[in-house]
Amino acid sequence: MQLAVNVLVLTALYALMAEGFVLIYRASRVFSLAHGDLMMLGGYVFFTCLVATGGNLWVSVPIALAAGFLIGVAVYLAGIRPLAGYPVASIVLVTVAIGILIRSVATLVWSGQVRYPAHALPFKDTPHQLGNAVFSTLDLASLAAALVFFVFLVALLQRTALGVRMRAAAENPRLAANSGINIHRVIALSWGLACFGATLAALFYTTRVNLEPDSWLVGLRAFVPALIGGMNSPLGVLPGALIVALVEVLAAQYLDPVMVNSAPFLVLLLALWVRPWGLFGTREEVVRV
């Protein structure tokens, strides 16, 4: 029972993070290695607001989320858009460079010290009892946030004109541009949404654990569920995240705590060998050599 709760909470965080990889990949065919750093930056913005407002969540959460969205748009406009037409490998390296830049700026601004946003919260994170499982208010909130985010995303993609444009641009950018869709605006929106999700994950991750410039590695690890689910499937990340969370929690419980770090990657390598396009990705995406 406790295991199930742990798996669910981890799934929610992984799914929020991994969705960013999928959105960015769909929009610009780029694997963004800066995503972990963008998550870390979102966490720092949240922490700074929290300290500045004396723990006022109603102010700092919206500010952090809006900042996350704007940072995503800015990264696209400043770093990725000028390189349109370059080889994909170059653009991936640009995201790597942007990531390093964010990390070093964060270290210079906030220093390398480990921070605990949980201490700045206005309330104590109280544990609840359900059956024989223990979960906290934040766990519940992270589940709810992930649920709301995904419902919102599905509604956006499936029900609105904007979503149709986003799907069209993801499927065939050239055709979409020729049909009069401003694809740069759509791609910028995808980057913004991706970083919005990453910041949302950062709120919960940093309050649960801690915040330091090295938090980026946690965010980067979320590429595993994205790949397992399929890089171009927005809802594939949910089962992907569930699998990774399950593997991680079970490995920690029954095998060896050290296995937590390598188990997801072994699963990923296996998945890449057997089904490289992911559980729900389209097959044409990876052309056989």
């Binding site: 790597v96 790949l227 990657f265």
Partner: protein, 353 residues
């Protein structure tokens, strides 16, 4: 490039495949080697040590350039391949006290094994998915290495005594310098020869368009896996040398940042250029030392001094961005332009054939 800037034209396949483009090229290379051999006799010991590190990095950068620059497959696992070589030495020497003539070949063999492990996804994957699988392989190797270290290395790492051949012990910066110079020369020779043979032409064809390459009868998967195997074997050797040179092996030394440093080397130096790998390795290894000097001498805010690593990596990122955006062919291209300028002087353009 078929012609030199001076208007030297190649007249047949034999000169196209020839090792020396012109007699002058041979003269300059030999002069450069002589200068490199004379370097430790007038340079301070500290800088010899820095150049030694650059030499080890050069072997790794040459190897990475084979996969990423020539074959066009972005490899994100380089740090893991270095770790594989370093840990081979760490385990063989730290636990069983094997001699160097066993550990270095072992590191090469392990490196080849890792190359097959990483290259096998190349049978099914291409482009960015292949890069991701190398990234996943890096995380697997890194976590296995740190796990091994925490179990058998006493948590901190393995101490490696200096390598010994017969009764001769390799120690001292200057001795290391000559050994490493010879190894770098060998690695350079290997890369140059690979690149002017049918293997190198197959790699270039795969880089430009893998479908077209396979249509021309090139076994794409075979050559891709081959590129990975040769590259990881060389990288693993570089990792083993690093272990011996620094006399210490620790999993904490092989972060993802190391991969990025090597990528920066070949990017700044020049993708698909042997000269570029050497220049890039030298440049990227020197950069942190130069930045440290600069920050100490010039009036920068105090936080810059306490977070030297952040300043260095930030500068790194900016350089990477600048080269990616403005000079994707790197220092080698800049050097080529400077050379062409002087060779053509007083004209600005090469004569039309």
């Amino acid at each position: 490039m078929a012609t030199n800037a001076s208007g030297f034209f190649k007249a047949g396949y034999s000169s196209e495949f020839g090792f020396w483009e012109t007699p002058w090229r041979r003269f300059w290379v030999l002069a450069g080697l002589a200068l490199a051999a004379a370097f430790p006799f007038f340079a301070p010991t500290f800088w010899i040590g820095v150049v030694n590190l650059a030499a080890i990095a050069a072997i790794g950068a040459l190897a990475l350039n084979l996969v990423t620059g020539y074959t066009g497959q972005l490899s994100l696992g380089h740090s893991g391949f270095l770790a594989a070589g370093a840990f081979t030495v760490g385990i063989l020497v730290g636990q069983w006290s094997m001699p160097v003539c066993v550990t270095l070949p072992a590191a090469i063999v392990i490196g080849m094994g890792v190359g097959v492990f990483v290259g096998v996804p190349a049978l099914r994957l291409r482009g960015i998915y292949l890069s991701i699988s190398t990234l996943a392989a890096y995380f697997v190797i890194a976590s296995l290495a740190s796990e091994y270290q925490s179990r058998f290395g006493g948590g901190a790492g393995f101490v490696i005594p200096p390598p010994q051949i017969g009764s001769w012990v390799l120690s001292g910066e200057r001795n290391w310098y000559f050994v490493l110079l010879a190894l770098v020369a060998l690695a350079t020779l290997l890369c140059l020869n690979l690149n002017r043979s049918h293997v190198g032409r197959a790699w270039l064809a795969i880089r430009e368009r893998d479908l077209a390459a396979s249509a021309m009868g090139i076994d794409v998967s075979f050559y891709k896996v081959m590129a990975f195997v040769i590259s990881t074997a060389m990288t693993s050797l570089a990792g083993a040398l690093l272990a011996y040179y620094t006399a210490f092996v620790s999993a904490e030394a092989f972060t993802f940042m190391v991969t990025i440093e090597y990528l920066a080397m070949i990017l700044i130096g020049g993708l698909g250029s042997v000269l570029g790998s050497l220049l890039g390795a030298l440049f990227v290894t020197l950069l942190p030392f130069l930045v440290e000097r600069a920050v100490e001498q010039l009036p920068f805010p105090a936080t810059f001094k306490t977070h030297m690593f952040a300043v260095q990596s930030g500068l790194f990122a900016i350089l990477m961005l600048a080269f990616l955006m403005f000079e994707p062919l790197g220092l080698a291209r800049i050097w080529g332009r400077i050379r062409a300028y002087f060779e053509l002087w007083p004209f600005r353009y090469r004569p039309l054939p």
